[in-house]
């Protein structure tokens, strides 16, 4: 069944966005990412203009992350306190990032910086998560039956973090940090997300796992909670200033993604933290490889529409 999209000004087989929404919704429920880094290029491949693809995807993520946050909240996986500190930081960072983009554009090399940042961040995050979780899985196998040893190293870092003022306990995640830490890390992710034009879920997840030392399942729930707020803001701004949100396309996408997010959450409960991390790492690395190919292989056409990542 074909439907006409009033803002994208094109017609699409309704099953495609529903299926795509379901697949990306699964990833949201499993890993706590919005999945914009997958969805936006796929929508462009289906013939949706790049600007409409990005804006409509954020509308869809509002639905998927609501569904996912709700499911994870029922499982006790959402650390609202941590989420709010990170959110405050990332809103601040987002505003800074937008100014930085303006500066880069004025300097004339924005596209280069954006694309390189994107590839390096995706590759770096994916690679680190992949090897870290691989070694963790190996360790767990060796240590099966024995007590799990505390992670070694970085004790200087720990001492430094503990010496910061405004220490507070995040009971849901079972960690204690200075209030400043999530705000600063949130700002860092917010700056990068604004530069790359993405929601930043794939950056927020490793930040929470490796820097805030939160357990993986709490990370997924809390990340979805954050993604929800960022995408509400982005959807409104896109609809209000750029008129690029396609309501029909969003409804098709979210019809699939809200169900996907629920099923993803159920699946996620059956997997261990390391298994979740390594799966996410593989997906992020696959996207990196695709981007590297796009950057190095001679394109079929030397013309492209603007507005994509």
């Amino acid at each position: 069944m074909y439907l006409y999209l009033p803002v994208a000004l094109t017609s699409i087989n309704a099953l495609m966005p529903v299926g795509l929404g379901f697949a990306v919704g699964l990833l949201s429920g499993l890993f706590g990412v919005g999945g914009g880094f997958l969805m936006t290029p796929l929508l462009i491949m289906l013939g949706i203009p790049a600007t409409v693809a990005a804006a409509t995807d954020s509308n869809q993520i509002v639905a998927a992350s609501t569904s996912g946050t709700y499911a994870h909240w029922k499982l006790g996986n959402v650390d609202f306190k941590m989420g709010l500190y990170l959110l405050a930081g990332s809103l601040l960072g987002g505003a800074l990032g937008v100014q930085l983009i303006k500066l880069l554009k004025a300097m004339g090399n924005a596209d280069f910086v954006i694309q390189i940042t994107y590839v390096v961040m995706l590759g770096g995050v994916g690679g680190y998560m992949f090897f870290e979780s691989l070694s963790q899985i190996r360790k767990n196998k060796q240590a099966s039956g024995k007590t799990v040893e505390a992670p070694a190293g970085d004790s200087a870092m720990k001492k430094f973090l503990a010496s910061l003022p405004m220490q507070t306990e995040f009971s849901r995640s079972g960690v204690t940090h200075s209030t400043l830490i999530p705000v600063i890390l949130g700002a860092f992710v917010g700056i990068l997300a604004a530069i790359m034009g993405v929601g930043g879920g794939f950056l927020m997840v490793p930040v929470m796992v490796y820097m805030l030392r939160m357990p993986m399942h709490a990370v997924v729930g809390t990340s979805l909670f954050l993604v929800l707020f960022t995408c509400i803001e982005v959807t409104f701004l896109q609809a209000y200033t750029n008129h690029t949100v396609d309501f029909i396309l969003a409804v098709l996408l979210l019809g699939g993604s809200v169900v996907g997010a629920q099923i993803g959450t159920i699946f996620g409960r059956k997997l261990k933290g390391e298994q979740l991390k390594i799966l996410l790492a593989v997906i992020v690395l696959a996207v990196t490889v695709k981007m590297v190919f796009d950057l190095t292989l001679t394109p079929h056409l030397l013309l492209a529409q603007g507005g994509g990542h």
Binding site: L3, A71, L75, D111, T235, F236
Partner: protein, 276 residues
């Protein structure tokens, strides 16, 4: 793509306009038989499209437009469907540091028809003389000369970019050309023509024109024109207007629907015992 300028297609004085009201009539047998002043053509060229109005509704997936009319016996026909010309910008990809393909700048195209569908009874480059082709923008060679592009360092670069631009639009189904595909019939000593165009769903709402050119010895000897209007209707029209004119409400509505769906799915799965 914006349609900034009104029609700039040159219209000859002798041309006849097909009337919108003729749509419902069957094949028009008694068309005007008076030849133009040149005397070379004895039958006046006429044209009409099967519908002059295409509604874009919720289930729209493109359409077809048939074009038919009378024509002189010894002429070739060129049929062009086009839209008002406008401007468009695209990113140009280039190699950075000899290794990476990236967007290296913006290209601005002008005098771009929003749609360019062309059919000719014979090979367009052989049937129409080059200067006539340029005058009426008939064929890709003429279109390439007609399009404006900025910046292009020299003729070679311009040719490369314009060629790519046509390919880009062909892939988006907005440009197409075909040799043949026009049926001719001789009935009661009268020659008639008929052809069917696939109307791409990618063609945006707006005003389009069907131009028919009768060509003899490389010259355009007669022309006829019929309009086609493409308009959004029903829910599509309502949503498009709301997105454009009432962005804040539209944004809030989109967010509310998304939030409600998310909670709705959560509630349904809870009832089904999906989570404990």
């Amino acid at each position: 793509m914006r349609y900034a300028t009104p029609h700039t297609i040159i219209v000859r004085g002798l041309m006849t306009f097909a009337l919108a009201g003729l749509v419902l009539l069957p094949w028009r047998a008694g068309a005007e038989a008076d030849g133009p002043a040149t005397g070379a053509v004895t039958v006046k060229l006429t044209t009409r499209a099967n519908h002059d109005h295409i509604d874009i509704n919720t289930f729209y997936h493109g359409s077809t437009v048939s074009v038919q009319g009378d024509c002189a016996p010894d002429t070739d026909l060129v049929i062009k469907i086009s839209a008002a010309e406008g401007e468009t910008s695209l990113k140009q990809k280039g190699k950075v540091g000899g290794l990476l393909w990236m967007n290296v700048g913006d290209l601005h195209f002008s005098r771009v028809p929003g749609l360019y569908l062309l059919k000719s009874s014979g090979n367009i480059e052989e049937v129409v003389a080059p200067e006539e082709a340029s005058r009426y923008v008939l064929g890709y060679d003429a279109l390439k000369r007609h399009l404006g592009v900025e910046p292009a360092a020299d003729a070679a670069e311009r040719a490369e970019i314009v060629g790519q631009f046509i390919q880009y639009n062909e892939e988006n189904k907005l440009f197409a050309r075909q040799t043949g595909g026009i049926e001719f019939k001789n009935e009661n000593g009268k020659r008639t023509y008929y052809t069917l165009f696939d109307w791409p769903y990618q063609a945006k709402p707006g005003d389009y024109v069907v131009d028919v050119y009768a060509v003899k010895d490389g010259r355009v000897v007669d022309t006829a024109r019929a309009p086609v209007k493409v308009e959004q209707a029903g829910t599509v029209k309502y949503l498009a207007a709301m997105a454009k004119n009432n962005g804040a409400l539209y944004g809030i509505l989109s967010i509310v629907v998304a939030l409600a769906s998310g909670f709705g799915a959560g509630a349904i799965f809870r009832k089904q015992g999906g989570a404990h």
